[in-house]
Amino acid sequence: MESTDGNDAKSEQRLKSAAALKSFMLKSSTESKLNLYDHLSRVLLKVMDEHPDNAVDVIEDVSREVKRSTLRDLPQTTAAELLAEQQRLLFSRPEEADQEEELEMQRVFLALKQLVESQGLPRCRLWGKILGTESSYIVAEAEYREGEEEEENTEEAAEDEERDVEKEMNPLPQSAYRPPPTVPKEALGTGANKFAFYVCKEPGLPWVKLPSVSPAQITGARQIRKFFTGTLDTPIVSYPPFPGNEANYLRAQIARISAGTQVSPQGFYQAGEEEGDEEDETPRDSFEVNPDFEGVPVAEMAESLSTWVHHVQHILQQGRCTWVNLAVKPGDDSNEEGEGEEKEEEPDEPEPEMSSVLTSQHALAVLRSNLWPGAYSYASGKKFENIYVGWGLKYSGEGFSQAVPPLPQKEYPSGPEITEALDPSVEEEQVLKEALEEQQAPRKRWMTQTTRRRRMTTERT
C-alpha cells in the first residue's frame, strides 16, 4: 500500500514537474516569437517525415532549417500589399476572393461613398482625374454643407501684427506706391467657388479638401503652363509668379475646366424662379432641374452642337463669375469703371469647339472638347454626365510663349537741375573775385580823388 501511495505521490510530482516544464517551454521568446515546445515538436515531426541518415549528426541542421522556414512566414510587405490593405477598408461587406480584381472605377466609387459618409456632404460626384508627373489626382466635386464658412487664416493676421510693431519702432520712409486693389474672392457657394473639391491620390487614401479659389489665382493660372507633380504642396516656380502652391493651381485649373466644359442637354436645367426682379445683366446663378424635361433623342444630340448648353458660368477676365466694381473714389474713376463693366460682361473664353461622336447603335451621344483635351460629356435619354481625365492643360494652339518680364524702368531724365557739376576751386574763385573788383574799380578811384580834394581844402584853411 505504501509503495503504491509512494508511487502515486511520485507520479503526481512527476506530472507536476512535467506540466511546469511544458509551460516553461511554451513561453515564447521575446526576440523571435517562437517557443521551444513548438520548435522541438516541429523538428521531431520533420525527422519522422524524412527519416534522415545519421539523424543525430544532422539534428542541428534540421533544427536550423525549421527555424528559418518558420521565420519566413513574416512576409515582406510590398507597396502593393500596403495599398491593398488600405483599400480593403472600402469593401465593407465581405467580398469573395476573385472580386479583388475589381477595376479602378469600382474602387473610386467606393472611395466616394466613404467621402460622403465621413464629411456629411449633401451631394458628391466624380469630377475626373488629373494626371501628374509623379502621381495623379482623383477629383471629387461636392456641394457645400449649409452654413459652412470660410476659415480665416489666423497665421497671416499674426504676421501683419508683427510687421506693424516693427514699423512703429523704426519709422521708415513710406513709399507712395499703392498696389492695385486685389479682387475679392467669391463667396462659398457662388460662382467659381460653387462646389468644394476633394482630391486623393489613389482610392482608399484619405481625401484632402482643396482651398477655395481666388480671382488672382485664376488669372495667374491663365498665364502659365505647368504640369502637376502629384504632391499638393510643391511650389509653382513660374513667371509671372503664381500666388500659391500646387493645391491652389490645381483648384484654379479645375475651376477653369468646369467653367469651360460642363455642358448639359438643352432644357435639362431651367433658371431658378426665386429671384423677383431679375435684371438682364446679373447672370443667373441658380438653376433647377427641369421636371418636364423629356430627353432629347440621341441622334439629334450627336448631329448638332446647339442641343448642348453650358450650365456653369463663364469666368470673366477679372477672375470671377460676377463683376466687381473696384472703384472706391467717386468722380472720374467711377465713370470709367462703369463703362468697363458693360463691356466685360460678355464671356471671355471663346466657345469651345466640340466634336460629337456617336459611339454605338445603343444610342449614346458623346461630346469631346477640343479646347480642353480630356473633357468628355455623354448623354443618353434623360441621363447625362461630364467628366475630365487629362493633364489639366488647355489646348495651346501654335505654342505657348512665356510672358516677357517688363522692360527695366527708365532713369529720371537728366537735366541741368540734377546734373552734378564740380565746385569751383580756390584759384577760380580768386580770378572771379578780381574780375568783379575790376568792374567796381573805377568807382573806387573816383571816391579816393574826392577825398583827397577834401583833405587838400582842409589843409589850406
Binding site: T78, A79, A80, L83, A84, Q87, L103, E104, R107, K129, L131, G132, T133, E134, S135, S136, E202, R225, K226, F227, E353, S355, V357, T359, S360, R368, N370, P373, G374, V389, G390, W391, L393, S396, G397, E398, G399, F400, Q402
Partner: protein, 279 residues
C-alpha cells in the same frame, strides 16, 4: 500593344484617360487576326489612335522577322477596313514638318499648304523676282510621318525584352521574365525601341556593365529634357505605367515579374514643344 493581349491591356492603360469601347474592341480583335493572316505578319500590334477634328484614325502595326526594320503601318476609321500607310522617307518628313500645323482634321485627303516666298538677294536695282514655293502635303503623309516620329522618339520596351542576334536581327526574347519590382522603379531599365543614337557616346566603363545582346538601344533616362517621362504605379500598385510628357498620350505599361508589356498612343498627334516651360 500585342493583339493577343488587347482585351486586358486596354484596362491597364485606361488610367491615362483613353480607352476603347466594347464595340471597337471586338471589331479590332477580329480584324487584326484577319490582317495578320493576309499580310503574313509575325505579330500584329494595335498601335493606337490619333484623334482628329472630324474623325479618329485607328492605327495598327504589323511586325515581320526583324522587329525593328520590318514594320508596316495601317490605318482605319472603323476598325474593320485597313489601309496601308506608305513608310516615311526623309524628304516627306521635312515637308510635313514645314507645312502641317494644328490638329488632324480626320480626312486623309485633306491638303496642308505652306507658301514660302524666296527672294534671291543681291540685286537692289534690278527687278526682284519673287518665287513662291508652295509645299503641299496631304494628311495621309502627315499621319505616316507622325507615326514614324512617335515610334522613333517615344516607343518604350523594358530591358531584356528584345534580343539582338550577332547578325543584327532584333527579336523578342522568349525567356524574358519581366523586371522585378525594384528594377521596374528605375527609368534606367527602359529602352527606346529605335535605332540607338547615344550608345556610341558611352564610355568603356559603362559599356562594361552592359550586355551587347540586350543593351543595343538607348536608355530612357538619357532623354533630354530630363523629366520628360513620368513613371507611376497604378491599379493598386500592380502595374507600372510610363507616360511620355513630350508626346502626351503615349502610355507604356508593364506588369513587374511578368513578361507583359506594351505601349499605346491615344492622342492628337502633336509633339509637346512647350515641355521645358512646363517642368
Amino acid at each position: 500593344m500585342d493583339s493577343n493581349s488587347l482585351f486586358y491591356s486596354l484596362e491597364l492603360v485606361a488610367g491615362s484617360g483613353n480607352t476603347l469601347n466594347i464595340e471597337q474592341r471586338t471589331a479590332l480583335q477580329t480584324s487584326l487576326v484577319i490582317l495578320k493572316k493576309n499580310y503574313k505578319f509575325h505579330r500584329v500590334l494595335f498601335w493606337g489612335k490619333i484623334l482628329g477634328l472630324k474623325e479618329d484614325y485607328f492605327i495598327a502595326q504589323g511586325r515581320g522577322e526583324d522587329e525593328m526594320k520590318d514594320k508596316k503601318t495601317l490605318y482605319s476609321f472603323n476598325c474593320m477596313d485597313w489601309m496601308l500607310l506608305a513608310p516615311a522617307t526623309d524628304s516627306v518628313i521635312e515637308e510635313v514638318s514645314k507645312t502641317a500645323k494644328g490638329r488632324f482634321v480626320g480626312d486623309p485627303s485633306y491638303v496642308y499648304e505652306h507658301v514660302e516666298i524666296h527672294r534671291p538677294g543681291g540685286r537692289d536695282d534690278a527687278i526682284q523676282e519673287e518665287e513662291e514655293v508652295v509645299t503641299k502635303v496631304n494628311e495621309e503623309s502627315r499621319l505616316a510621318v507622325t507615326v514614324h516620329r512617335i515610334d522613333e522618339e517615344a516607343s518604350v520596351v523594358p530591358r531584356g525584352a528584345y534580343l539582338k542576334s550577332p547578325h543584327g536581327l532584333v527579336q523578342i526574347n522568349r525567356s524574358f521574365g519581366g523586371l522585378s519590382h525594384s528594377e521596374a522603379g528605375k527609368l534606367d531599365n527602359f529602352l527606346h525601341f529605335s535605332k540607338a543614337k547615344n550608345l556610341k557616346k558611352k564610355s568603356i566603363l559603362e559599356m562594361g556593365d552592359l550586355n551587347p545582346a540586350i543593351d543595343f538601344l538607348d536608355v530612357l533616362s538619357d532623354d533630354i529634357p530630363k523629366g520628360s517621362w513620368s513613371l507611376q504605379l497604378e491599379c493598386a500598385s500592380r502595374v507600372l505605367v510610363l507616360r511620355s510628357l513630350l508626346w502626351p498620350g503615349l502610355t507604356f505599361f508593364h506588369l513587374p515579374t511578368t513578361p507583359q508589356h506594351g505601349h499605346i498612343y491615344i492622342g492628337d498627334g502633336r509633339k509637346n514643344l512647350d515641355l521645358p516651360f512646363m517642368l
